[in-house]
Symmetry: C2
Subunit: 460 residues, 2 copies
């Protein structure tokens, strides 16, 4: 394997790499919008074509929704198999007026490429595609088999992929999934994310009288559903942020002393963090730092409240109903199904009089924990250090990528989350961006990763 | 005074009475809608014309909004003065599709007249106008002076009348205000309402981060404004319906043993009441009956809740803000201004960390208590018994008519609330109605009332 030859090819191709990313970004593949159905299909075709031209066995696999793009390089006996997962669909670009340059007109300003999908996820997944395609173009054999699974419904919940995954388990069999759909810890501080929180979301509805009542004629004699909702929601979490559902903390994987020490050594300022989000003071569970609260502790949040009169002025009614959207972030080892039972039991126990309460679970996913000291993680660490000039920090993230724990379950594989983005990339907002330098460093790190992983023997 | 001659005139005029009410109801005098400005003016002209034609000194008094119609019969030395208050404006008729017959096409079905304003308040106030006009038409002198104050902004808060009232105090000077803008206790159970609750309304807003945050990346590390709102609202009232603001019950006028006994003798079924409003069980302050809770106890209600994601599906955010519309019904002797101070102190004491709380008072009005055994009330009772064939019951109502306590304060007068409506008249909803028989009985009771009040000597 002549790695310097490969790295040299990458260096001399950087203009084409950027040009190709721009081509892909120009396709408005908004998966949630049926008006963009053919654009989504075009984005799938674009990437399938790219993979196929490089010589990979490639298929566009239809689903009930948008298709999966699956490709693979030849098998390499004795070496591990890597599966690159990413997505070619993007979030809606609205509000369009807030974009400085067009959402689907990729534009470079101050070293950043601005476009919807630049960081989430076209730019990031393309780093791995470029590294593999260019490697193959040199004529050098890859030191391991690499498979690609690029889906078109990540932004709308990956339901079709989740359903099809068990049936694809042979075809996608791998030792390690590689995903670049997250962020570095900070500018020039690349990270390996070895944990994600799970999630459980619900809608809680409280119905009282059959219609809004006059609060003068009826007030005092009937339970107000909005008051019942506030009491019920307040019973779920105390004023110190501690969740009161029986058994909620029983399965929580406690933070190890080692990772608490490691995280405490990460550059972090509570003051700067509070300023960034626009609050005077932070708030969270006692006895934990901000990063511990975000990455390693379970939460309860109210995502929305709706009841009664919401317009201007006064309408003195007892609302017929009140509802809340609520969600929990779970840490590894907490089971969303178990939570649903415990939450229902909590509600039954705290049921107010004279109203009907309905809890509707929406979706749930377990958290993910990988071993940050695994040989795959260590290989990734070396690759990233080579490309970025600094070793990656080991972090967890507070968000959830439900498909990741499904990969672990179904494919029984390890998982590497290698984020090339930055926390201010605004992946779901106007003016989404991706740092051009990080795109190129990501491609280089990816190539180094194949070399590092290829040097490992399978199953050792 | 030849009362039988007058009653006879009323009897023979019933067709015209109904016809005139229909004329008035056809004018869509929706005070809140600027598109109906000239209709509102026409409704004022219609009633002014009616009063003037009967020989009364009548004026249409402009205000910054819709005009007041003021009229009076000649002074009668030694006799008390009665002031009839009512309003010619109506609520919007929307949703129009829900009306069986047109909102401004008065239609009789099953003995009821259906139209916007039928009961609230054109039909009810017209009973007093008809009785006085017909009395004057007989040539008999009225045994007391009667003044009319018919406004066009009751449905939008009576602000101009409130402002002008002190300057009109000489002109409107009276011993007793007569208002028919409420309901009988039940069908064929006329009532004298001797108490109303006051009101205080507020908007409560809690602001957290400067924009909605991703609940994965930030959840657990920042106060969720919607949770803070639920905690704060829950702190205002306990799960038994007891309000927790310090001193809230200090000024509450307790119910007398006599009125509790009287109310307990009123026909009432909790079961039927619950069924009517569509709940399985009633709820309220311990130790009080349903009517006591509605009429004689102060309350706290949430009228609306707004925060975060309210559309379909899931959006896992920490909302930037959460707000509530809240209101209190006050009993006589509670001061809305004092409540505002106590509520602000309560909020300051229960202030959550990391969010900003703003309390904005909207409007406040004291409750009203009249003496149900006053000579005016007893005169009204005799008049109603003559017209309805059954003596009225003595009740309070849970709603608030802010102008009533202003009349008491500014004019230093007694107050008679004589409701001819029924609780299912739907005054602010589609298919508003007024029982035709009650319209005619109301006119008769009104005439008898003038005879009864006229027999009292002023100030005795």
């Amino acid at each position: 394997m002549n790695l310097s030859n490969i790295l040299n090819t990458l260096d001399t191709s950087s203009e084409r790499h950027l040009d190709e990313l721009c081509q892909w970004l120009k396709i408005p593949s908004v998966s949630s919008d049926s008006m963009h159905r053919s654009d989504v299909a075009d984005a799938a075709k674009w990437v399938a074509e790219k993979l196929k031209k490089a010589g990979m066995a490639t298929e566009i696999l239809p689903t009930d929704g948008h298709p999966l793009v699956i490709a693979e390089t030849p098998a390499v006996p004795g070496a591990p198999v890597a599966l690159v997962y990413g997505h070619y669909d993007v979030q809606p670009a609205e509000p369009l007026a807030d974009w400085i340059s067009g959402a689907f007109e990729p534009t470079i300003r101050d070293g950043n490429l601005y476009a919807r999908g630049a960081t989430d996820d076209k730019g990031q997944v393309l780093t791995h595609i470029q590294s593999v395609c260019d490697w193959l173009a040199t004529g050098e054999p890859l030191p391991l088999q690499i498979k690609f699974l690029i889906e078109g419904e990540e932004e709308v919940g990956s339901e079709n992929l989740e359903r099809l995954l068990p049936g694809l388990s042979d075809r996608l069999a791998c030792d390690c999934v590689v995903i670049s759909d997250s962020s570095q810890y900070a500018k020039d501080k690349p990270a390996i994310t070895y944990g994600l929180r799970g999630i459980a979301t619900y809608e809680l509805e409280i119905r009282g009288p059959s219609q809004d009542l006059h609060s003068g004629s009826f007030g005092g004699a009937v339970m107000n559903p909005a008051i019942a909702l506030c009491h019920l929601l307040s019973s779920i979490v105390d004023s110190k942020g501690r969740i009161q559902i029986e058994g909620y903390y029983d399965d929580v994987q406690e933070l190890s002393a080692a990772e608490r020490t490691a995280w405490s050594n990460l550059a972090h300022s509570d003051e700067a963090f509070a300023k960034e989000i626009g609050v005077d003071a932070l708030f969270g569970e006692e006895g934990f730092t901000t990063n511990e609260r975000r990455w390693g502790r379970p939460t309860f949040d109210i995502n929305g409240l709706t009841s009664g009169h919401q317009g201007e002025g006064v309408k003195t009614i007892i609302p017929a109903f009140a509802s809340a959207k609520i969600s929990f972030r779970l840490v590894p080892n907490q089971d969303p199904k178990k939570l649903t039972k415990a939450l229902q039991a909590h509600i039954d126990k705290h049921l107010p009089t004279g109203v009907k309460v309905t809890l509707s679970p929406d979706h749930g996913a377990a958290g993910m924990a990988a071993d940050p000291q695994s040989r795959y993680a260590e290989a990734a660490s070396r690759a990233i250090e080579s490309a970025f000039g600094t070793p990656p920090v080991l972090i967890r993230e507070g968000g959830s990528i439900p498909i990741v724990s499904r990969f672990q379950d179904v494919l029984q594989c390890d998982c590497l989350l290698l984020g090339w983005g930055l926390s201010d990339d605004k992946p779901h907002s106007p003016n989404e961006k991706f740092c051009v330098q990080d795109y190129h460093r990501g491609i280089k790190a990816s190539a180094m990763l194949w070399a590092e992983l290829g040097s490992l023997r399978k199953g050792v």
